[in-house]
């Protein structure tokens, strides 16, 4: 995407009268003042200095919405055509900004306090106590380590997805049928999947997969008994849902490779295997890296299956960070500690993803 100059050149001939500009500024600053006044009144009521009879913080929210609308409208009033162009991006920017930046700042405040939602004492600033507690919390470190293991499983998912994409790209009949069938797991809700597979098909006595395992001579099939097997089961269930996602990205990449390249390699005497390793695979590297990075991002959010199938058990062995914090809140309604854990997780993710993207950038550059 170019960033210098508009791709679309619009010659504007705006003649905006001063009165209109002044009106535009007036509504923007006026509504901003309104937000401040309402917020100040609410803060005063919350701290008990005055009583305006507010029931909740909705008035501030409404004032903020008014300001957002005024800001968009004011852009057009003040800057004419240029303002209309800004109007394309501004609503989304305000929306995302309001819904992430404010909660994040607020979350930072919560993260350094002891706040049990069910206790009457309310929020109490407790400095670094939460960090100290986190440092000695083996379950949190265990959950972080699990995330590393779960992410490592992506390599296997990638290999399977690549294989399936190659098959779908080959000369086969009923391609559409297979594509739809392979896509379906992605459409199913993880909660339903955790019942369908985790709770019924893997059920130790009557589940079909347990019967299959017994048929192969395993006496007491237990898919959630030992930590390692439970973790592997969760990995398999998550892979089952998300392999189609990688498969389709890779398939799109495969279809973009010109046929001539593989034909030329064949003429030069490359057999199927060398053709794949030396032509297809290098060409697919950028797509593969994109697919893997996106998959990692999704994997880091993994929670639904764990919450519903094992609830982190046995002994926290299958916990993801998200499911751990979820239970931390559900069982102790400890908002402060949970938020701190989430923020630490965010910092780790940002560092890791930046590192991975830099690495990916370096890998991709010499080949493309």
């Amino acid at each position: 995407m170019s960033s210098q100059g508009d791709l679309l050149h619009v010659v504007t001939n705006d003649n905006i009268p001063d009165s209109r500009k002044r009106f535009g500024r007036a509504i923007i600053w006026g509504t901003a003042a309104l937000v401040l006044v309402v917020a100040a009144m609410q803060v005063m009521q919350a701290t008990g200095r005055a009583d305006f009879g507010f029931e909740n913080w909705r008035p501030t929210l409404y004032a903020f919405c008014t300001w957002a609308v005024a800001l968009c409208w004011g852009q057009v009033l003040i800057r004419g055509e240029a303002g209309k162009r800004t109007l394309f991006v501004l609503p989304a920017a305000i929306f995302v900004g309001a819904l992430t930046i404010f909660p994040l700042l607020f979350g930072l405040l919560i993260a350094f306090s002891d706040w049990n939602l069910s206790s009457p004492t309310g929020r109490q600033f407790n400095g670094l106590d939460n960090i100290r507690q986190m440092w000695v919390d083996p379950f949190y470190w265990n959950a972080l380590w699990n995330m590393v293991l779960y992410s490592a499983a992506i390599i296997v998912e990638y290999a399977i997805a690549f294989g399936l994409a190659l098959l779908l790209n080959a000369q086969i009949r009923a391609r559409k049928f297979f594509r739809v069938a392979f896509l379906l797991p992605l459409m199913l809700s993880p909660v339903a999947v955790s019942w369908m597979i985790g709770k019924s098909m893997l059920e130790a006595r009557y589940g079909p997969l347990s019967r299959l395992a017994r048929f192969f001579g395993i006496e007491n099939p237990s898919f959630f008994g030992s930590p390692e097997i439970a973790r592997a089961t969760i990995m398999v269930m998550d892979a089952w849902t998300y392999i189609p996602f990688m498969m389709i990205m890779i398939l799109a990449g495969l279809q973009a490779i010109p046929k001539e390249l593989n034909e030329a390699a064949k003429v030069d005497g490359a057999n199927g295997w060398r053709n794949f390793w030396e032509v297809t695979f290098p060409l697919m590297l950028p797509v593969s890296i994109t697919a893997i990075l996106i998959r990692i991002i999704f994997k880091l959010k993994l929670a639904d299956v764990v919450i519903n199938v094992t609830a982190g058990g046995p002994g926290g062995a299958t916990d993801t960070v998200t499911s751990f914090i979820f239970r931390e809140y559900r069982e102790r309604s400890n908002v402060g500690y949970g938020t701190l854990l989430a923020f630490v997780y965010l910092v780790i993710i940002v560092i890791a993803m930046t590192f991975l993207m830099k690495l990916a950038d370096r890998w991709m550059r010499p080949r493309t």
């Binding site: 989304a92 920017a93 819904l99 919560i110 459409m187 697919a291 959010k301 519903n308």
Partner: protein
């Protein structure tokens, strides 16, 4: 003696070739069919289990009509079997309420995300902006970086904020959050889509006297419609299936279907038929969407993969 000797025959090399071709065919279709079974068996299992009764579950019967006779037990417990569908049923009322919640929330938030995201993606692909120190690439990064933000970071602050704003357990609250969570994906898809439309089209429209919004609405939107549909469907899938926020932020009024399914999971014990019926009813809309609109889903996911 006229021996019927074959004059033209396949050479040894050709025959070997054909054998090799056949083995590769068999291998390819074998793997394809195996994976199809892996993908479809859980769905098949859920459908058939919803028509089973206790002995069928325990004996592990698999094929309806062959080794067990289907019964409406599971669907009866949901109030959706033929003999109960006309009667009052609290479970069905509950189910329909959750279903409507899921429907309203996912459709509204997807539509909102597609509207906001398309506008933003169009602006970013056509004009250069400067919001303070942020240029186009920074604004794009700002939007797309939301993808990395794990939901759990926002969850607890939102819980507290929503409590103060009286948005806890409301549809609006969930709609806002869901829109936020799918917006980066929509922008990702739509940026790709608008990037592939030549700017000459708008230039011609502008010369003909349309305003920039007029050109966008009458010329560009119809061309970009398939991409928007793809983004919408993908958002719909993600928001319909979302569980984490719904479980945290709703309790009685605005529960979505996944929350209902999850809350029934533990309590049902071995009465699989009703859980199977419930699960299947919850996934059915998306199976239909997946089969009918498969083209758009693939288009949406492939966007951005290939540059």
């Amino acid at each position: 003696m006229t021996a019927t000797t074959q004059i033209f025959r396949d050479s040894e090399a050709d025959r070997r070739h054909r054998a090799k071709w056949w083995t590769s065919r068999i291998a390819i279709y074998g793997v394809l069919i195996l994976w199809t079974i892996i993908c479809l068996f859980p769905i098949y299992w859920t459908i058939t289990t919803s028509f089973k009764m206790a002995p069928n579950v325990m004996k592990g019967n698999m094929i309806p009509f062959v080794d067990y006779t289907p019964a409406w037990l599971g669907w009866k417990s949901l109030g959706l079997s033929p003999d109960t569908i006309w009667n009052e049923s609290t479970v069905r009322a509950e189910f329909m309420k959750r279903f409507m919640n899921s429907f309203v929330i996912s459709v509204t938030s997807s539509a909102l995300a597609v509207a906001l995201g398309s506008l933003a993606a169009y602006g970013l692909s056509r004009f250069s902006y400067r919001f303070g120190w942020m240029k186009n690439s920074d604004i794009s990064f700002f939007f797309l970086s939301q993808l990395i933000l794990p939901p759990v970071v926002l969850a607890l602050p939102f819980l507290v904020l929503y409590k103060e704003l009286a948005l806890l357990d409301t549809r609006v609250g969930l709609i806002l959050l869901y829109t936020l969570s799918v917006l980066p994906i929509v922008i990702w898809i739509m940026r790709d889509q608008f990037g592939s439309i030549p700017t000459e089209l708008e230039e011609a429209a502008l010369v003909d006297g349309l305003s920039i919004w007029g050109a966008f609405a009458t010329i560009i939107l119809p061309i970009a419609l398939p991409g928007m549909v793809a983004a919408f469907i993908l958002s719909l899938v993600l928001t319909w299936n979302e569980y984490f926020f719904a479980a945290l932020l709703t309790s009685t009024y605005a529960n979505t279907l996944p929350v209902m399914v999850a809350s029934q999971t533990g309590s049902q014990g071995i009465s699989w038929w009703s859980m199977a019926a419930l699960s299947f009813a919850a996934i059915l809309p998306l199976i239909v969407i997946g089969v009918v609109l498969e083209k758009y889903i693939i288009k949406g996911m492939a966007a951005g993969a290939v540059k």
